[in-house]
């Protein structure tokens, strides 16, 4: 009798634990129609409309930068800023690369692959070192912290991770995505590139060309890298990996949006509060 009660309690506890950890919500959401995606400009997701605009992000950078600069000045280091001069262009490129370089489907820049391989639109565009007047380490820490606190420690990532709870969960492990990835992987393997995951070519040391932060660029893509990148794109087109991945991720987006309606509303208001008071 006592043993039966213990078992019942254990079962109830297990159910409660599953509920508390949200495992019940981890079923794979239904997916609607799957588009054939052949260009990165076709890619859009339901979550896109909830992300801060480029202009909002720029204003947030400015508010944070102004607070940081003010702190340095108060500590005897005037003119020290952490805001890059080409901020707007940089944010625009980051947004593009949020679409063309993802863990979900890897690299997808059909035009870029032919000219830059796996390289980035950033290359050659800017000096990535921003000299600043010397400041004591403890002041650097204090003032960078003061800058972050000026925007409520909001971190200014351009992708969905800026959203409440880190944004929608990734569909990377969804069975429909893994099935499409398997087809892509088989295609790549047949072509002599035995990659398992879409992100693998992007992080393959063979194609990594370290960027000098002084010059803002690295060595040019080799013919071998361009061949790999164009094969990668070809396999994605053959298997419609990107179409499947975006359709499935969109289903996760919709479920997240439905579950976070209030939080997303508050987040939007919070952003508006900052950008209304932002500097230009």
């Amino acid at each position: 009798m006592r043993r039966a009660r213990v078992i019942r309690l254990a079962v109830l506890a297990a159910v409660a634990a599953v509920t508390a950890t949200g495992c019940g919500a981890e079923t794979e959401p239904p997916v609607g129609s799957i588009d054939v995606i052949t260009r990165e400009t076709q890619i859009s997701r339901p979550i896109d409309g909830y992300l801060p605009s480029g202009e909002q992000l720029r204003q947030l950078w400015q508010v944070r930068g102004a607070a940081t600069t003010a702190c340095y000045a108060e500590h005897g280091t005037p003119g020290r800023t952490n805001v890059p001069p080409d901020l707007a262009a940089r944010l625009r490129i980051q947004r593009q690369e949020d679409v063309t370089r993802t863990r979900l489907y890897g690299f997808f820049g059909p035009e870029d692959a032919r000219s830059r391989g796996y390289g980035s639109a950033f290359e050659g565009q800017r000096n990535l070192e921003m000299p600043a007047p010397w400041s004591r380490p403890e002041v650097v820490r204090q003032c960078e912290k003061a800058g972050s606190e000026a925007i409520g420690d909001l971190t200014l990532v351009t992708d969905e991770r800026i959203l409440p709870d880190g944004g929608p969960p990734s569909a990377t492990n969804d069975s429909r995505v893994t099935e499409a990835v398997s087809k892509w992987s088989a295609c790549m393997t047949r072509a002599g590139y035995p990659y398992q995951r879409p992100i693998d070519p992007l992080i393959d040391p063979k194609w990594q060309r370290p960027i000098s932060t002084q010059k803002g660029e690295g060595p040019p893509a080799t013919p071998a890298e361009i061949a790999a990148a164009t094969t990668d794109i070809g396999c994605k087109l053959d298997t419609n990996l990107v179409g499947v991945a975006v359709a499935v991720q969109s289903a996760y987006d919709r479920r997240y949006i439905a579950a976070h309606a209030d939080a997303l509303s508050r987040f939007k208001e919070r952003l508006l509060g900052y950008t209304r008071t932002g500097t230009t």
Partner: protein, 103 residues
């Protein structure tokens, strides 16, 4: 002028209740270097960092950053080095790093 502007902005944020002290569940933290999605600060004693935010450190002889699935910057007493692109390696002359920021 900038100081006045910043002070005004901070005061306005305080007044509207927008200042939030940092207890972010996703705050930047040091992690074991076992995943290439992390940001790696390469030196003879390489360290790895995950999640987002700003953190004060003292890391000597850092000569490159592998950005992983992140963008951001590192600060030293002489200025900032940006890593604006995910999944890339940024090389620079060896230096001490005082602050790491991941966007």
């Amino acid at each position: 002028m900038k100081k006045t502007l910043a002070a005004g902005a901070v005061a306005a944020l305080s007044a509207t209740g927008m200042l939030v002290s940092g207890s972010d569940a996703f705050a930047i933290n040091r992690v074991t270097c076992n995943e290439n999605g992390y940001t790696w600060l390469n030196s003879t004693d390489t360290t790895c960092w995950a999640n987002r935010g700003t953190i004060g450190v003292t890391l000597y002889g850092v000569y490159s950053v592998s950005s992983g699935n992140n963008t951001g910057w590192v600060a030293s007493p002489s200025g900032y080095v940006d890593f604006p692109q995910k999944w890339n390696i940024y090389q620079f002359s060896s230096r001490r790093i005082d602050t790491i920021h991941i966007n």
